[in-house]
Amino acid sequence: MDLSLIVTLHNQIRTIELLYEKISLELKKLSLTYEIIFIDNSSKDGTEEKIKMLKSSNPNIKLVVLSKNVSNIEAAIHGLNLASGEYIVTMDGNMDYDPADIIRFIIMIQSGFDVVCGWRKAKKTGLFLSSLFSKIANAIISSMTHIKFHDIDCPFKGFRNSLLYVIRAYSDIYRFLPLIAASKGANVGEVEVAYKKKVGNHKGFNILQGFKLLSDIILVKILVDFSSRPFWFFGLLSIPFWIIGSYLFGIYLYDIFSSQHQNSIVIPGICILYIFLSMSINMFGFLSELIVKTGDLNKEVMHDK
């Protein structure tokens, strides 16, 4: 099979048929073998039944029904497990996205990219503070990859299936799949997609989201950098405290042998605290080295293209 299209849906009973028509029209143009995996993200309005109806007319439709409403990102993960196509494209099933963009992803993948992330150029960024957050986030992102991602959060993504096995997607990490893939040597790219959210509904990019994005990116950065060499990472973290500890120890020694002996408990106390801290951080490093060694992380190597 050539293409697996993963579409997440939440309460889309009114638009699902229209969407399906549009998608199948586009897919016909492509003349590829395909499957459509609909993820019903615990809809309450009977979207599930509607998809089952569609399924009876088209055997290429697969359906996953979730019993709990989760984020779009998590919902898409459930589709990845089923996908058997060579190319995988994930998209949000609300009508903000245009199925005509699917072909752009396929062309990108065919031309050698492993992961292609959508970019909603029409989406406006919000206030100054949130754009500050996203600027920092983008700086971190571009330090991890050779290209600049404009819109890492875009649910419209495409990638090569053989890559899947290198990536572990758990909870929110999936949204940073392009970053993790890039850190493992994949060829990542970006493509513009159409985006038409109603103007009245537009909330922009609020501060809380910006902060969450930033903290998540820092987490991914740490995880990616650090999971390959945790002992080194914790070692680095402990260096400043080793320095503070030994400096204080020096002061204490100097104090003992100096003429005006102060007899203070504070300096040696703090000295002991910091030395204790740096030792325990080194222990943590050792511990996580063990954890990483016993995990299946080191089995991850890039596939041949």
Binding site: V70, Y170, I222, S227, F234, I291
Partner: protein
């Protein structure tokens, strides 16, 4: 946690009944600590189950230290059809007993019961009907404590207030032994320790539909229950365990990172204050300021907490594929 091999070694010492036959209902009764006249208990419940269906089985799971109960059950088990016994070689606790029962159960629907008189047997029909009507994947009983003794009610409501505080759950009688569930859902729990207490919460966390039904309490259950002091402490620790399990298993750094950062922030504020005074006030010596000690201590704890969160995150990251998630209701290929 005890692994599956160990469980297999210690279970299934004695079991009887036809093999691989699909039944309507499996009733699991873990006999772990306290038990009443178990033959009468069996008779009164079996009568009610007979009204629902002919094809049901009772599975008694007997913990290693319950030798007397084992002798009693073995004695009457020959008189009635459809009784199976699983006996542990050593005491493993109620969670393992339930897991073993789940593993051996052959019914389409699974009921669990307490090994003492707790809920009126007639109430079983209510739960069964609710399951058949697809009202929930799991139906749990909630005892109406109209006739319960005051002390029982007080300690139970205190426990549930604490539980609600930590987990935000709305279950009002989590320790009720009467639960009914579909067969498909039993694989979503990995029960160990005292987690059997929190089956409804874990189930809800896994995305299952849990329904709570009022049931009548039996007279024997209204007697005053004063537990050992140790057990009250245990329950407190259990609540904290489930709190962490439900909230932070998949994102440890969110919690520990935030907590650790707050501690570090507090430490930084103190340090900045001290530096300010050291630079701009005269005769201000740091060596006799205990607040410097406090600041350092906060910094040490903050970094440790943060590092622990990071280790938690790395465990989930490297072993995350094996972590169970059961949000999927249905797959059609």
């Amino acid at each position: 946690m005890i692994n599956k091999e160990e469980l297999k070694l210690s279970t299934g010492l004695y079991s009887q009944g036809a093999k691989d036959e699909i039944l309507d209902i499996s009733v699991i009764i873990p006999v772990v600590e306290k038990y009443d006249d178990i033959e009468n208990l069996y008779i009164s419940y079996a009568e009610e189950f007979k009204k629902l269906t002919e094809r049901f089985e009772f599975i008694f799971v007997i913990d290693g230290n319950m030798k007397k109960a084992y002798a009693e059950i073995k004695k009457f088990s020959h008189k009635y059809p459809g009784i199976r016994i699983i006996r542990f070689l050593k005491p493993l606790g109620e969670s393992m007993a339930l897991s073993a029962g789940f593993e051996k159960a052959r019914g389409k629907y699974i009921f669990t019961l307490a090994s003492y008189f707790q809920v009126q047997p007639e109430e079983i029909k209510k739960l069964y009907d609710s399951l058949l009507n697809e009202e929930g994947d799991i139906v749990v009983g909630r005892r109406i404590r109209k006739h319960d003794s005051l002390f029982n009610r007080m300690q139970s409501s205190l426990f549930h207030v604490l539980l609600k505080l930590f987990t935000g759950t709305n279950f009002k009688d989590i320790s009720c032994g009467l639960k009914a569930m579909k067969r498909e859902v039993i694989q979503s729990f990995d029960l160990y320790g005292n987690l059997h207490l929190f089956i409804p919460i874990i189930a809800e966390h896994q995305g299952l539909n849990v329904k709570q039904l009022d049931v009548q309490q039996q007279k024997e259950d209204t007697k005053l229950r004063i537990h050992k002091f140790r057990e009250y402490i245990d329950r407190l620790i259990d609540i904290i365990t489930i709190f962490f399990l439900v909230r932070f298993t998949y994102k440890p750094l969110r919690f520990f990172g935030l907590f650790g950062s707050l501690l570090m922030l507090a430490s930084l504020i103190i340090i900045l204050y001290l530096i300010y005074h050291r630079l701009f006030s005269e005769a201000f010596a740091l060596s006799n300021k205990p607040s410097l000690y406090l600041a350092s201590l906060l910094m040490v704890i903050g970094i440790q907490v943060f590092a622990i969160g990071l280790i938690g995150e790395i465990i989930i990251y490297t072993h995350g594929k094996r972590a169970k998630r059961f949000n999927v209701k249905e797959i059609r290929e």
